[in-house]
Amino acid sequence: MNLRLLSPYEHRTSPIHRLPAAAKLAFLGAVVCTVVLVPLGAGMIYAVCAAALVTIAALSRVPARHLAWRLLLLEPFVLGVAALSLLQPGGGAVFAAMLVRSTLCLFAMVLLASTTRFTDLLAALWRLHVPALLVTSLALMYRYLSLLVDETGRLQRARRSRTFEGGRAFAWRSSAAVAAHLFVRTSERAERIYDAMCARGWRT
């Protein structure tokens, strides 16, 4: 699996893509905070934020279909949490307001994800003096994510090609065995990576 499949538009070169990652993070973070902090009835502020986000989306030339698809993918989680607010007096209005509010925030975060490379975000975090151990862990995680997802696929394919499909208990045990072997391989890979890092002059 290529990471570009996960975020296919972060490598484009629109004016929005060329902005520094820290600026985008600050601006979209400010939009999210504004939307979250203003009272539920402030329709004007929501409209202004929505207009700003739509303008950024248009300038970034990320296909609207991609953005809509990402939003729809995450909307069920929002609906699930919002449903809890239905079970109180006057819940319908709260539910609708919550939905608008969190969809706007989701839109802002999806825009950030599809216009900013994750490595640029990490560099921004590094400059903001986020602890080195955390940034290193995030960088390693991002680097090896697609590799381990592929490895999971290979382990599952190896298992499927060598065993008959049993019942549900078998499926659970074999999935657990795949996870366990994935962990064993991960820890072995981590040791090799440490050796390689040392060979290139890395020190803790």
Partner: protein, 325 residues
Amino acid sequence: MHIPDGFLDGKTAVATGALAAAGLGIALWSVRRTFPPRRVPLIGLAAAFVFAAQMLNFPVTGGTSGHLIGAVLAAVLLGPSAAVVVLSSVLILQCFLFADGGLTALGANVFNLALVTSTVGYGVYALVRRVAGDGLRARLLATGFAAWCSTVAASVACASELASSGTALWRVAFPAMAAVHMVIGLGEAAITTLVVAAVAGVRPELVREAPLAARAPRYVAVAVYGLLVALGLVLFVAPVASGWPDGLAKVAATLGFEAHASVPVLPAPLAGYVVPGLGRAVPSTVLAGATGAVVAFGLAWLLAWVLTSRGLSGRTRALETTVAS
């Protein structure tokens, strides 16, 4: 259980953010102090592993399937401090790369799904092991029960944050979240136990080594995390709970209707987290919780017993060799 943006108010977001930052800071400090340098890259890779392992499907019934959450798995295999860093990394990446879990709710999500899960999970694990002993069976029993407890604890923390933000009523959110996650926790317990048993079958030193290395500082870390989690619970549950008695006074009038409305929504065995026939009061909630805990403990014990008894572990090993080759 990822909270999206817009469901937490300012004070809750700031408070959980501060707690999460403090907890993550302590975890990073503790990892830097106690982790051998050789194993530091493992933290980043373990985060990628948790992410990849969450994609494995565990069929439940008729097309639906569950997946691993992985907090207790990480805590058992790497220790609680490393587990906090691993799960925080997963949550940060999910927030920025997939917009899964909100930016303003990132603190709350790190608090619930990294700090509470790892601390409660590892605390229960250490406690059960202290009572039950050091053998593989005791370890698996401790793992399974810890996985259930950590899932339920995270859901309660999540419900209390939603309630303190005024998004949902505590008396609706708490039973709904707790009841659903008491069931989900059973699945998490089974998966975690199976994975730890399989790791112990292939590389026993990976399971044995982790809890024994650097034992003394871990207890200090557990105590500090416990304090942080307790502080969080006091901050969020206490103001909500103080409004509880007047909620109870209105139980007869309001909740009589409320319960009818909410019962069909909840696919829970103990109908809305309340034992039928006992009335909806604090004792019955406690009783329902205790019943769930006993069921989870029984399941963990049964799994540990089955997985370590001779005939089945032979078959599991045969399966593992097929997967490995």
